[in-house]
């Protein structure tokens, strides 16, 4: 404070700011660590704790890592001061994921707080507890949420609903019980809770349409009262449900005549439903897809309830509601959405761009909806460039003959805008509109021409890039208008050409020269001026730039080719052409020289008989009109209105198109009448016990929630015992999370868990085993790892038939290269099938640069290779085989580095002085090093790679059937499930380079049930050294082919996807 006081004395303004800062936390922010924080945290006074916590927050805000205070902070979670609690929660949420073990200490306190009388405390405790993301406590979290979902305070229930997605992210196995909770919350009386329940629904089970169907009517009616943020989500859910249930509506704007451009709207509706990737772009009509019904009452209800939301003050709600009307609303009522959407433009300036993107999509499908509102899209000087361009595009879409005079009047002003990029865009739009509305072509051309010839653009002395942009764009626009009807605009061409000399910009010159060449034989005037123009071009050729030179060459060739007969002109043209060709042959630029040579050969080779052929050739070469690129992007990209993907114009991760119309068949929407029996449906109702294997747990929490004390929970029900079969030792148990969990649960007291005394689980084991008959929580792990790996698959590099009897085969090796971790080892097997001895066999790599074949012994070339790419390690050479006698086989190890995990490596195989080309195809499964992990670290790593780093595929595994058959003959006693698991592991390990982390499967009553068999593999990607985790989970009976899900977590997503495909291929 003291130096600040000094500063205050110096200046009055500083003093006043200092006064304002008195009493705030400014000093804490400025010097957060000027005192020792640790003793403060351990202080007896709340105020000192608050002070310390604030300092910690300040450090967090400044980007410092203060996680080492974690133990001290966690202790304060038990504080009674609300402020301390809040601050501790803030800190906890920030670091819990890093310090999982210490964070566990806080769970106890949270549980106590959950029974506090203050709803705020309960809600905070729940939020913090669910927010710390600890995998091991997910059952406790579930219990806590279940309890809070029945809390008397709606605020707590709301928080419970928001907590569901968090739990789901953490632990995706309990979906059925989560869905059940969503169901309970959707029934809530308070609209706020219903709203948050719908958010949870969207995160957990967005496709569970039967659940919505139960509540549809209530949800619709609650919609206006729900909180605005939840409204956005709820509207989307209801829309998806309606489409899935009833299909798209035939009267909607997507199918009606309001649309100006019916192909666009049909594409649009298809994109909505199928997404982009699936839409192949063929001409198939949308009618083939089940498109559904006319209006029905569900749709009506939805429309009725979303209509008032168009007046919402939240722009996201308005847009979502507009989206509903757009997709399912009848066409005549879609007009309703226009004004509210347009109003969004003015009322929230931040959202302007997003809204405009959506309007553009709407306008493209139904320009008539917006055509009378063109004034809304006039540009204001405060708009950013981004907004200006999109407004222009909308204007170009909705312009009609009646509005175009006003729009053009507006454009007149834009042309003089200081932002020349924007002017260029305007000019482009003028061209586009003129093309659409042929009536305007004349005036537009006139205006554009005036612009082109206006002084600053062509003056040449004042050349900046943007001005050139305008000029070029203007000429392009002229060109595109001319193309519509060239003959009637002959004068324009003449004027352009006459001004050619004034225009200095080479791109513009090239364009004008092209226009002249293209239309040189048209009308009356142009052919007359052609000789003069050509003479001029010949004169200016040497001073032109490359672009224009090439165009001059083309044009001369064109004009010459087009003039038929042997009159005066044609000889003149030929003379000029020859002159220009002559010049061009000695041009400095080799493109120009090439072009000249090409044309010379083409034109020069005129013998009588093939003259016509040449003429045709030339004509078709030069005179076919190049495909025009229309101004708006030709590839239509449409995503659902209001989605992020529509704004960024690519499918954002997580984007899902509308469900298939009519895909949800709900047998009996009777749910409406049982909404009263909330109490009955939970507890031990039989209908859930089949799908929810923890129903016993549910009843357990019901009891405890009455006591309000979790310490007494009869935990046996949820204990996960570890049933070891035969071979494994007890010590291995600690490898498994399941063991940890079981211990923690059985002892409950967290402190003792942290002490790590693994003996107790044995006590609970017998107990749980007897009770676990109905559950599948106990897991068997297989620790027998004596696999007999199958021989690795070998590929043929060289067939003996075309190589004097030399056969080379290769297989990928699991060895790690001794030279560099980036290299992959390949075992090569050389066999001589011929009767003669082969000499000097060697393999060389084709260099990446492609121009030299480096001998492996040549040090110079090796050097050069390393110079080309210093970061790449050169492929390690192979030792030469001097002699290979007939029928001899020699093995060599080749260490190679593949440039890409899918592309082959080209090799030169040398023997007896001959050379042969070969390709070494990579096997992505060997681009890994085994990564030795234990179970815990595997799970931890897996958790660090969620979301976009995770991908999974399903396939069928049937190899074990054969194996079982064989085994039956040998020994009856062998455990069949073990055999299957083995078979599985062998399959993967023998064709890839993974480390097997664990194999386990749930204990089940049915002997042949293999569901839940889980194998985990770990590896490290060779090129990036990033971990790559594989989890394989099987389902089904062991006597049948198993349904297998392969899940892969890797940071290297592209590699991961390819590897996943490869693994699936291996398994199958």
């Amino acid at each position: 404070m003291l130096p600040q006081m000094g500063a205050a004395a110096e200046s009055l303004s500083k003093a006043s700011s200092l006064v304002m800062r008195i009493g705030t936390d400014a000093h804490l922010y400025d010097d957060p660590d000027d005192v020792s924080i640790k003793p403060l945290l351990e202080s007896r006074y709340d105020s000192e704790k608050v002070d310390a916590l604030k300092r910690l927050l300040a450090l967090i805000a400044q980007g410092a890592d203060v996680s080492h205070f974690f133990p001290q902070v966690v202790k304060n979670v038990a504080s009674h001061s609300l402020e301390v609690k809040k601050l501790v929660y803030l800190y906890l949420l920030h670091y819990a994921e890093k310090r999982q073990n210490e964070a566990l200490l806080s769970i106890n306190c949270f549980q106590k707080d959950l029974s506090d009388t203050n709803p705020l405390v309960r809600a905070w405790a729940l939020r913090a507890m669910t927010g710390i993301r600890l995998h091991v406590v997910s059952p406790l979290i579930l219990a806590a949420i279940t309890k809070c979902a029945r809390d008397p305070s709606p605020y707590v229930r709301k928080c419970a609903a928001y907590a569901l997605p968090k739990l789901y992210n953490l632990h995706q196995e309990e979906i059925s019980s989560l869905e059940q909770l969503v169901d309970v919350l959707l029934r809530d009386n308070s609209p706020a809770v219903v709203g948050s329940a719908s958010v949870a629904f969207n995160a957990i089970c967005p496709n569970n349409y039967p659940l919505i169907s139960k509540h549809f009517k209530r949800l619709c009616e609650a919609l206006p009262d729900v909180e605005e943020w939840s409204q956005i989500i709820l509207i989307e859910i209801l829309l998806r449900y309606t489409v899935a249930r009833h299909g798209l509506v035939r009267e909607s704007v997507l199918f009606s005549d309001v649309t100006h451009d019916s192909t666009f709207s049909s594409v649009m509706s298809r994109c909505y439903v199928e997404g982009h990737e699936l839409w192949s772009g063929d001409g198939r009509g949308f009618e083939e897809v089940e498109m559904g019904t006319c209006k029905n009452e569900d749709v009506d209800l939805l429309l009725k309830c979303t209509a008032p939301l168009l007046w919402s003050q939240n722009s996201a709600v308005v847009l979502a509601a507009a989206g509903v009307h757009w997709i399912v609303g009848p066409a005549e009522e879609v007009k309703k959405i226009v004004k509210p959407i347009l109003f969004l433009l003015r009322s929230s300036s931040v959202a302007k761009y997003v809204v405009l993107c959506n309007i553009l999509a709407f306008a493209k499908a139904a320009p008539l909806l917006f055509d009378s509102f063109y004034e809304e899209f006039f540009i204001s000087s405060s708009d950013s460039y981004q907004i200006k361009t999109i407004k222009l595009e909308i204007l170009s879409t909705i312009a009609t003959e009646s509005s175009v005079p006003f729009i053009f009047g507006e454009f007149q002003d834009y042309i003089r805008d200081p932002d020349r990029r924007f002017v260029a865009d305007t000019v482009a739009v003028i061209g586009f509109i003129a093309k659409q509305l042929a009536v305007l072509a004349g005036t537009c051309l006139e205006g554009l021409l005036k612009l082109v010839l206006s002084e600053p653009l062509v003056s040449g002395s004042y050349q900046i890039e943007e001005e050139d942009g305008v000029l070029v764009q203007a000429i392009i626009s002229i060109k595109s208008i001319l193309k519509q009807d060239p003959s009637s605009h002959e004068k324009v061409i003449v004027r352009l050409v006459r001004n050619l000399d004034r225009i200095k910009n080479s791109a513009s010159r090239a364009l004008i020269i092209w226009i002249f060449g293209e239309y040189s034989s048209m009308g009356d005037v142009i052919p007359k001026i052609a000789p003069t123009v050509l003479k001029y071009l010949a004169w200016s050729f040497h001073s032109d730039e490359v672009e224009a030179k090439l165009q001059i060459l083309n044009t001369c060739a064109k004009v010459t080719a087009k003039t038929k007969g042997n009159n005066e002109d044609s000889t003149l043209f030929k003379k000029i052409l020859n002159y220009i060709l002559q010049l061009a042959t000695f041009d400095q630029n080799y493109d120009v020289r090439d072009r000249a040579r090409f044309i010379r050969n083409l034109m020069g080779n005129k013998t009588k008989n093939n003259l016509d052929i040449y003429r045709d050739l030339i004509e078709s070469m030069f005179c076919t009109k190049p495909a025009s690129s229309p101004y708006p992007s030709a590839n239509i990209r449409v995503y659902l209105p209001g989605s992020l993907s529509q704004v960024v114009l690519h499918a954002a991760p997580g984007y899902t198109p509308l469900p298939k119309p009519g895909s949800a068949v709900i047998e009996n929407p009777t749910g409406l009448n049982n909404s009263s029996d909330v109490d009955e449906s939970e507890g031990s109702s039989p209908q859930y016990s089949t799908e929810d294997n923890r129903s016993g747990y549910d009843t357990g929490t019901e009891e405890t929630s009455e006591n309000g004390d979790y310490e007494e929970t009869p935990l046996v029900n949820i204990s996960e015992a570890n049933v070891d079969q035969g071979q494994t030792s007890q010590n291995d148990m600690s490898n498994f999370v399941s063991t940890d969990l079981s211990e923690m649960m059985s002892r409950t007291a967290l402190e003792s868990w942290l002490d790590e005394t693994p003996s107790f689980s044995n006590g609970s084991f017998g107990q749980s085993h007897s009770q676990n008959v109905s559950t599948s929580n106990a897991r068997v792990s297989f620790n027998d790892r004596n696999f007999k790996l199958k021989p690795r698959k070998s590929h043929v590099l060289l067939e003996p038939a075309n190589s004097d009897g030399l056969r080379i085969s290769y297989s990928f090796s699991t060895e790690v290269s001794s030279v560099s971790p980036l290299l992959v080892c390949v075992d090569l097997l050389f066999e001589n099938f011929a009767k003669e001895t082969l000499r000097n066999i060697n393999i060389r790599f084709e260099e990446a640069s492609g121009n030299s074949i480096s001998g492996p012994t040549d040090p110079v070339l090796e050097d050069s290779a390393s110079m080309v790419s210093p970061d790449k390690i050169p492929t390690f050479p192979m030792e030469e085989i001097p002699l290979l006698s007939p029928n001899e086989t020699v093995k060599r190890i080749l260490q190679v580095r593949f440039q890409h995990h899918l592309l082959p490596l080209k090799l030169h195989i040398l023997w007896n002085g001959k050379m042969h080309l070969g390709k070494l195809w990579p096997d992505i499964a060997y681009f890994l090093r085994p990564l030795s992990l234990d179970m815990n670290s595997f799970v931890e790593k897996e958790k660090q790679l969620p979301g976009m780093f995770e991908c999974s595929r399903r396939c069928i595994f049937s190899d074990h059937l054969q194996e079982l058959e064989q085994n039956e003959k040998i020994s009856v006693n062998a455990d069949k499930s073990l055999v299957v698991a083995h078979c599985f592991a062998v399959k993967i390990l023998s064709s890839s380079n993974f480390y097997l982390v664990s194999m386990d499967m749930p204990v089940s009553l049915k002997p042949d049930d293999m569901s839940g068999l889980c194998l985990r593999f770990a590896g490290e990607v060779v090129n990036s050294s990033k971990p790559c985790l594989i989890t394989v989970i099987a389902h089904g009976n062991l006597t049948e082919p198993l349904d297998v899900t392969v899940k892969l977590n890797s940071e290297d997503t592209v590699f991961g996807l390819n590897l996943l495909n490869r693994l699936v291929a291996i398994v199958q």
Partner: protein, 408 residues
Amino acid sequence: MVEKQTTGHHVDRSICAWFWHQYNHHRNNDQMSVVTSPTHYLFPLIRHGIIFLACTQLELPPLLPIEFLSRFADILSDYLCAGSGAGATLNEDIVKDNFVIVYEVLDEMMDNGFPLTTEPNLLKDIVLPPNLVTKVLHAVTGNSSPSVGPTLPHAAASTVPWRSTHPKTTTNEVYVNLVEQLDASVNRDGNLRRCQVYGEIQVNSSLPGFPDLTLSFTNPSLLNDVRFHPCVRFRPWESSQVLSFVPPDGHFKLMTYRVKELKKIPIYVKPQLTSDSGNCRISALVGVRNDPGKTIDSIIVEFQLPPCITSADLTSNHGTVDILADKTCRWSIGQIPKDKLPSLSGNLVLEPGLDRLHVAPTFQVRFKIMGIAMSGLQIDKLDVKNMPANPYKGFRAQTQAGDYEFRS
């Protein structure tokens, strides 16, 4: 200087650095509303020099984060600037000074990446805003007063979440304020291209109990577009164009509306630019047209000098002319004097080689008129039901310039 809070999946702080780089790179006033970075989608909001940045990897309605951020910014400035006098805006220092409150408010407003409590009244009960008393107390005693409310406000549980059931105020009054922004654009020939009013009805209510208010207009047909605060009931509006609502306590925006196709503008600017041989004469005349009957205050005319101008020499017969660093020319007029028309004149020197000016700046005008709503919208009456005593009712109106521009 960055504040942030991660929820759900961890987002690395480095994304801010990336954005900052991009932002500085494209400084030329192109405000992007959705930025695609290699790993994330970013939603920046820039308010008073503070950047609020939301970031996501997954699909979501883009307006949700945008709207949330602007709500957050509003609430934050409401929280932090209320204590430091009127007219104060958010700035780096204020955020720094109250960083704990920023964290707490953000934590209450956002849960797992989804907005939780955004109702300002509710928030103020959970996280207490700083005020002068606590500040002084803190300075004197050295003890910081709690910034967290003792208990959950009842409103969180009620069906009208925007109204706390125990308002602290004992006054019994309600103020209705029409704040309008006039958008107009006049093209080069002096023709009015577009003229519309964007208005807000701001209500400041301090009524005890559970009042039920009804506001009606004499000419509701004027209203072209409307949007309401969530407290407004939709049905009465649909049937008879009446606003019926239970107001939140304190200051809030009851309704926003737009009136289009107005014909009269209160102020005009006549710019004239003539250029030849590397020089450009500029002159601009400002005058009142269609006198609104009230004085027009704080008139400012602004225009951007085109980039091709190297130097400018501008003088005016009334008010002051400043040329700012970004080549913006600001002419502060204040009120128009009765005896003369304010005019600006001067000479612009073009870049060498350029003979004539081919681009034209746009003149933007800012002004303020108190006591009048330019749209002509009139409030008929305000009925207050469910109240023990008749409250004091106050009405005000004001118009200011929105996008009010003249092209030259």
